[in-house]
């Protein structure tokens, strides 16, 4: 029997390491519930993180799904489990998110665009002023290998044959990373595979045109990495500029953030911010 219990929803993975990803997922779920009150939210957790899930978390987590196979037990950055989301998601249609993304407004209307493909990854990203990113500082590997400029931070997939093939291909790349790194890719020195690179390779092998929607240039997010915002790398962005929480709106350096916000600096989510979300949701 299919485990796809609901039509559509958001999903993230939270596998705690020295970073409390469950806490980030909790903030993310609250931002989604605050901006899209009908939205369903699922979190995939490993064994140790599962034990940290509280009743408070479950007020916004509609589904808490234990990871079936843990391929990243010894990794601090547990990306090797990512491909399992296709099997684990409780939704027929899933928006898969990295856990350090918040929403400041509804993106309900994006579903209509997503349904044009079986798999849609964000194409490019934006700076905090909403400009399309032109910095290639973090994307040299993509350029050297002519990979599509996709981001898995926010992606959509439907329970379909193409999506199944996509995640099977991703699994194959994760499992044979040494071969892909040393024999296929040019100038790749990544000891471990990263999801952005793996998914971009999978898209390129299968059919890149079927994994993105370049005509829908609103399907991406604000990336707070310093170089994307033309800020010096030496200081975390949260120490460079003012952040204001006028929930659900978030203002950074005096600019309202209307796109999904990939804040990236995990220390930015403080207890005070979680309390503000809880207050707004009355939970």
């Amino acid at each position: 029997m299919s485990n796809k219990l609901a039509q559509a929803g958001f999903l993230t993975l939270a596998q705690n390491s020295d970073i409390d990803y469950l806490r980030l997922a909790y903030a993310q779920a609250m931002s989604i519930k605050l901006t899209m009150s009908d939205a369903k939210y699922a979190v995939v957790v490993d064994d140790s993180t599962y034990s940290c899930v509280t009743e408070q978390h479950r007020k916004v987590f509609d589904y808490v799904i234990p990871l079936q196979y843990n391929y990243a037990k010894d990794d601090s950055w547990k990306l090797a489990n990512e491909w399992q989301v296709f099997d684990l998601t409780p939704f027929k249609e899933t928006i898969k998110l990295e856990s350090d993304i918040l929403f400041t407004r509804s993106i309900d209307h994006w579903w209509t665009a997503f349904r044009l493909r079986d798999v849609v990854m964000s194409l490019g990203c934006r700076d905090y002023q909403g400009n399309i990113n032109i910095s290639r500082q973090y994307r040299k590997l993509f350029d050297d290998n002519d990979l599509p400029d996709t981001y898995n931070g926010l992606m959509y997939f439907r329970y379909s044959q193409f999506a199944s093939d996509f995640f099977a291909k991703a699994r194959q790349i994760f499992s044979n990373w040494d071969y892909f790194r040393d024999s296929i890719l040019i100038n790749c020195r990544d000891e471990k595979p990263t999801t952005d690179v793996v998914y971009a390779i999978a898209a390129k092998i299968l059919d890149p045109d079927n994994c993105m929607l370049p005509q829908c240039d609103f399907i991406n997010f604000t990336h707070m990495k310093n170089a994307i915002n033309s800020w010096p790398e030496s200081t975390p962005w949260s120490e460079l500029v003012v952040s204001e929480f006028d929930l659900p709106m978030i203002r950074i350096n005096n600019i309202n953030q209307c796109n999904p916000l990939h804040y990236q600096d995990k220390t930015w989510i403080t207890d005070e911010i979680l309390k503000r979300f809880e207050y707004e949701l009355r939970i």
Partner: protein, 257 residues
């Protein structure tokens, strides 16, 4: 269909002319007014001696000079017109393009982009700050949103140190360009509004002569000359604007046809 009972909106130009020990802005405004009358055919109001704040000081131009740039926010209350083009007196109106902005703008509009004949001007308030506007030209109508803009510019002027820190800019002296940019960002819902859709042209260097030939604008500087399509220009060289050469340039334009 136009409501025939609706009173016609009054339109005009407001110029600020605040003299300093070295620059006779009233004299410059007098020449600017002649160009405005000839080109835009609008009434003009010149505002003088209103500043309630001590003089500002500008570095980087003419080896540093006194700069009476405070209280620009009072243009909203001082303008006698429903629809106003607010100008620095060193902005020379040589075409009627701003009338199109007056026709189309709902509340207010400012220049986002500025360039000299050879380069785009840097428009950031600081390395980690936002872009600023160019308050040399402000087109506005008497609406509640425009009033909010000008009121906020006044508040920013009064609390400049606070806003300087909040918006991460390094310059110490008060700039209307910054105050209007911050006010625009806030009034417009913490995103900048759409500005005037073309780039302001600024002549930064000392000017020897300006003339118009075959509908081209020829700007002669010390070591170079620029031939440009005829258009309004912002001239930084106040010595030129007070000179006999400039008066002759204005005479020639106003006597054409």
């Amino acid at each position: 269909m136009t409501n025939s009972n609706a009173p016609a909106k009054s339109r005009g130009v407001v110029l600020f002319a605040l003299n300093t020990p070295t620059v006779d802005y009233e004299k410059i405004a007098e020449q600017a007014s002649r160009l405005i009358t000839y080109t835009l055919k609008l009434p003009i109001t010149v505002i003088t001696d209103i500043s309630t704040v001590e003089n500002n000081f500008r570095t980087g131009y003419a080896h540093g000079s006194i700069w009476n740039n405070f209280d620009r926010y009072r243009a909203y209350e001082l303008s006698p017109y429903d629809e106003t083009i607010l100008l620095d007196s060193d902005y020379l109106i040589l075409d009627d393009a701003l009338l199109k902005i007056l026709d189309t703008v709902d509340d207010y509009c400012l220049f986002e982009h500025n360039q000299s004949p050879v380069r785009l001007a840097d428009k950031h308030m600081g390395p980690i700050s936002l872009s600023h506007v160019w308050a040399t030209v402000v087109v506005f109508k008497k609406t509640s949103k425009a009033k909010q803009l000008f009121d906020l510019v006044g508040r920013i002027q009064r609390n400049y140190d606070y806003y300087r820190k909040l918006y991460n800019f390094t310059a110490q002296n008060f700039r209307n360009d910054y105050a209007f940019a911050i006010a625009d960002n806030i009034v417009n819902g913490y995103v900048p509004s759409q500005g005037i859709p073309w780039t302001m042209l600024t002549i930064e260097n000392p000017v020897k002569k300006i003339e118009i030939k075959n509908n081209n604008l020829i700007v002669r500087e010390e070591t170079q000359a620029h031939v440009l399509p005829k258009q309004s220009i912002h001239v930084m060289d106040k010595d030129y604007l007070q000179s006999k050469d400039h008066m002759e340039f204005v005479d020639n334009i106003c006597q054409t046809n």
